[in-house]
């Protein structure tokens, strides 16, 4: 597949499409950051821990990327998410084709790991030389009697988001609807685009269960292959912070009549809102009442836990510089823990994200379109106490002698759901209390 399917590129649910010309189009040579389509597919599917994930390409694609994502699983067998499998094709394979090596690799993976399914990822070189991955997958699926799913998201076809969309396509075509569940319950949902990074979803699942909502399948946090195969029997698709998978849920609505909603479980405000969105979609009055009761209970509990944190952070001002929908979802979490968010960056946000950021920050909030340039002045003008941004902004914080939190730093603990806020608050306080930002920037003795 050398060109992206038109239908997917023109997907209307892609927010960027109408507002910004470049977002979904060709990346700019020499001025591009961010991963390729393959990486997006990998992020979306690797959390299936009982499936083998074979990357068909040279060593680049997997060599630097395996075991990089903390997506814990409750699967009791060997966690194949953390096993790096690649055909690591050689020059010979490039010349004569990589198909033989791919089929032999599937056999070896089968015999060694006995997986529930196998995903085969095409990458730039194997897509370019035209290996017939579909045919091999078909043949091997028949031979072994289990799903062997081709994932056509070679890097050159587009960005990470587009790759995750293509991963959704592969799951729709090859897994969803291929198995009937033994039983179903009244309020079952599929969690789409929740990868359980640092165990995020385990923070909020108990709350959903208390209300009576069950998870039928996930794509793909703590996911199971048999479950996603029965995903067509769920009552609702819940997209968690992943616009790229809207195509999938829209098609599932067409095919199976499953409605979908899009939510975020980041911070108290979003988590409560997410729960309300879900129960409203089911439309059952008793369920909605139950949800309200649980929300009241959880918010009261959280408010007690947050009290010391809010007291400590009262009057502190934060400047936030992160991209996309985080411009408001992160801001919302900061407000929940008692910080005043005086500015947020909206350079890469869509119109909808900007509107939401304005709503959350209020009239006097600063929406920075060129944060790298505006940041220092905004910090000075607002007398902010803490900067939350990517590592590049560390220097700004040091110069301005204020505390810094690297929002891209891989977090070790989850900030998701209600009680994730407590962990988040503790990290923010730790940064504010840390003298390091002043010490590290002390003037050298020979400069006095």
């Amino acid at each position: 597949m050398l060109t992206a399917p038109k239908e997917l590129l023109n997907e209307s649910a892609c927010d960027h499409h109408t507002n910004k010309k470049t977002a979904c189009n060709r990346p700019t040579p020499g001025a591009t950051t961010g991963g390729c389509a393959f990486e997006g597919a990998q992020i979306s599917l690797f959390p299936y821990a009982e499936a083998a994930h074979i990357v068909h390409g040279p060593i680049t694609c997997l060599g630097a990327s395996w075991e990089t994502r903390a997506t814990p699983t409750s699967f009791s067998g060997r966690d194949l998410t953390q096993v790096g499998l690649t055909t690591a094709i050689s020059e010979n394979d490039v010349i004569f084709g990589g198909e033989k090596r791919l089929s032999a690799s599937i056999d070896e993976a089968m015999h060694t790991f006995n997986p529930k399914a196998i995903f085969i990822y095409s990458t730039c070189v194997t897509a370019l030389i035209g290996d017939d991955i579909d045919a091999i997958c078909r043949e091997k699926a028949q031979q072994y009697g289990l799903p062997i799913v081709p994932v056509h998201a070679p890097g050159f076809i587009g960005s990470k988001n587009f790759g995750s969309r293509l991963a959704g396509e592969a799951v729709l075509e090859h897994l969803i609807g291929t198995l009937e569940p033994e039983s179903t319950a009244p309020y079952e949902i599929n969690l789409i685009g929740e990868y359980n990074v640092t165990g995020d979803m385990w923070r909020y699942l108990p709350v959903l269960e208390k209300i009576g909502i069950k998870v039928r399948a996930t794509l793909s946090g703590d996911g199971r292959i048999d479950a996603i195969r029965t995903a067509h029997r769920a009552g609702l698709n819940v997209i968690v912070c992943a616009q790229s998978l809207v195509t999938l849920t829209r098609k599932m609505q067409e095919r199976y009549g499953i409605p979908w909603v899009s939510v975020s479980f980041y911070g108290q405000r979003d988590t409560s809102e997410a729960i309300r969105t879900i129960v409203r979609a089911f439309g059952d009055a008793a369920l909605i009442d139950r949800a309200e009761a649980v929300i009241t209970e959880e918010e009261a509990k959280l408010s007690k836990q947050l009290e010391p944190i809010r007291t400590r952070l009262a009057g502190k001002k934060a400047v936030l510089n992160t991209g996309g929908n985080k411009a408001w979802s992160f801001a919302s979490a900061l407000q929940d823990i008692g910080l005043k968010v005086v500015a947020t960056a909206v350079g890469k946000s869509t119109e909808a994200d900007r509107a939401k950021a304005r709503e959350y920050l209020g009239e006097e909030g600063v929406l920075m379109t060129k944060p790298a340039v505006e940041q220092p002045k905004v910090i000075a003008d607002t007398q902010a106490d803490i900067l939350l941004a990517g590592g590049r902004s560390l220097y700004t914080a040091l110069k301005k002698k204020i505390a810094f939190v690297d929002v891209n730093q891989e977090k070790k603990v989850s900030y998701g759901g209600y009680d994730g806020l407590v962990a988040f608050g503790e990290d923010v306080i730790a940064a504010l209390d840390n003298p390091v930002f002043k010490v590290a920037n002390r003037e050298a003795p020979w400069r006095h």
């Binding site: 060709r26 060593i59 060599g63 990327s65 096993v83 790096g84 033989k100 370019l128 076809i157």
Partner: protein, 417 residues
């Protein structure tokens, strides 16, 4: 496993080339390929060095991937880079994709107005250390001026796994013999983890292109690791009077003795020991003592080394001096160590480590060794690439007299506790 690679320690040649360009001052590495290769590499090295990493990509997308010879897109990419920064050098790196479609970087680079060095690194061949070596060779071939006379300059060609501090220590040692030392590439001032004056958008430290162009006047080239041998030959070919000192490694007492002997011979003070600085002699005595102190523990230790070949051989030589039994499993072996190695040596991945029949106590390798060691109930010492969980790797040494002495202690302590 015949066809499948499981849990690879191998990294790609473009990553090695990119790392080499990070050791050149005011350089912007530009990976010619689709955007993912640069992105994965950037994230990988950012986590490894705990510092921002400059790199750009030509970001081939589906149409440009198939059509065109790549010249337009490379020119466009450089134009966009120059709109933001003014690098002294652009390091043009090919990938499997652009090699397969047949882009000719040599002629593309020749047509550019921006100063650049190009290197061919299809990622289906070789690995980190060969990509690093290829970039070094390219820098020599494309930048170094031929010369007929020599100065007191010594060129140092470190292999890909030498840490910034190991490069710095070797430079200092050579300088202590009265020479001027220039390392190519030189990570000691770029990736050593220092707080600079401002946020770097391209490499701040490293060897300047001016210094590279004048390497032809070196009286000697010291190459460490077999992967650097052909780079040493290319450099020596720039000047008939240049002496080549090619060492497999400088780990442990014997190897450091050999290097010191070479430097003594090179210095005008011929073989008299006046040439050797007092601190070097002192550290040799400390290493002797540490070898004896650590041999009780290390003499019974069985250690697996899953590192780049040049580094594995260096560590094996050092640990063997104290009696440790080492097994080496390396991602590639361009240098042909397998034939000459005294310890068991093979090319393989971490799956091959899991299959080792003989019992072992400790694995020395990058972060990926952690899960393996945990699963197998063994110990793990994080070294080589990547070091995601460990801080300070760039400040540590396991070579020359002092680095060897300290590293022996580290390994012995790890095994004993």
């Amino acid at each position: 496993m015949e066809a499948l690679t499981v849990n690879p320690t191998r990294l790609s040649a473009p990553m090695g080339a990119m790392l080499a360009f990070l050791g050149v001052k005011h350089c912007m590495p530009l990976i010619h390929g689709a955007q993912g290769c640069a992105s994965f590499s950037k994230v990988f090295f950012t986590r490894h060095f705990h510092d921002p990493i400059p790199v750009q990509t030509t970001a081939l997308s589906d149409i440009s991937a198939v059509l065109g010879g790549g010249d337009e897109i490379v020119t466009e990419a450089i134009g966009n880079i120059l709109a933001k920064v003014t690098p002294d050098l652009v390091g043009l790196i090919s990938t499997g994709l652009t090699e397969t479609k047949g882009d000719d970087l040599r002629s593309i680079a020749a047509a550019l107005t921006q100063k650049s060095v190009w290197v061919s690194t299809p990622d289906y061949i070789g690995g980190l250390q060969s990509g690093w070596a290829a970039a070094t060779e390219a820098l020599i071939t494309q930048l170094v001026q031929p010369c007929m006379s020599v100065t007191q300059k010594v060129a140092i060609l470190p292999h890909a796994s030498m840490t910034p501090i190991e490069v710095e220590d070797l430079k200092a040692l050579v300088e202590s013999f009265g020479f001027e030392a220039v390392a190519l590439p030189d990570l000691s001032e770029s990736m050593d983890g220092h707080l600079g004056e401002k946020q770097a958008t391209m490499t701040q430290g490293g060897v300047s292109i001016q210094a590279i162009s004048q390497l032809g006047e070196s009286c000697a080239v010291v190459a460490i690791g077999r992967s650097m041998l052909s780079a040493a030959r290319l450099l020596a070919a720039k000047n008939p009077a240049m002496k080549t000192i090619a060492l497999d490694h400088i780990g442990g007492l014997g190897a450091t003795d050999r290097l010191i002997g070479e430097l003594m011979a090179l210095s005008s003070d011929d073989r008299s020991d006046r040439a050797v600085p007092a601190s070097v002699k002192r550290w040799r005595a400390r290493l002797q003592d540490m070898l004896l102190d650590s041999h009780f523990t290390l003499g019974k230790a069985r250690i697996v080394l899953a590192l780049e070949a040049d580094q594995a051989v260096s560590i094996a030589a050092l640990l063997s001096e104290a009696g440790a039994k080492c097994t080496l499993i390396t991602p590639t072996d361009e240098g042909g160590y397998e034939k000459s190695s005294l310890s068991p040596f093979r090319v393989g991945d971490l799956w091959d480590v899991e299959q080792i029949k003989e019992p072992w106590d400790l694995i020395i390798c990058g972060s990926h060794g952690e899960a393996l060691a945990h699963r197998m109930g063994r110990k793990h010492l994080e070294m080589g690439f990547p070091q995601w969980e460990r801080l300070g790797g760039q400040l540590e040494s396991a070579q020359l007299y002092h680095g060897s002495a300290r590293f022996l202690a580290t390994v012995a302590n790890k095994i004993a506790h």
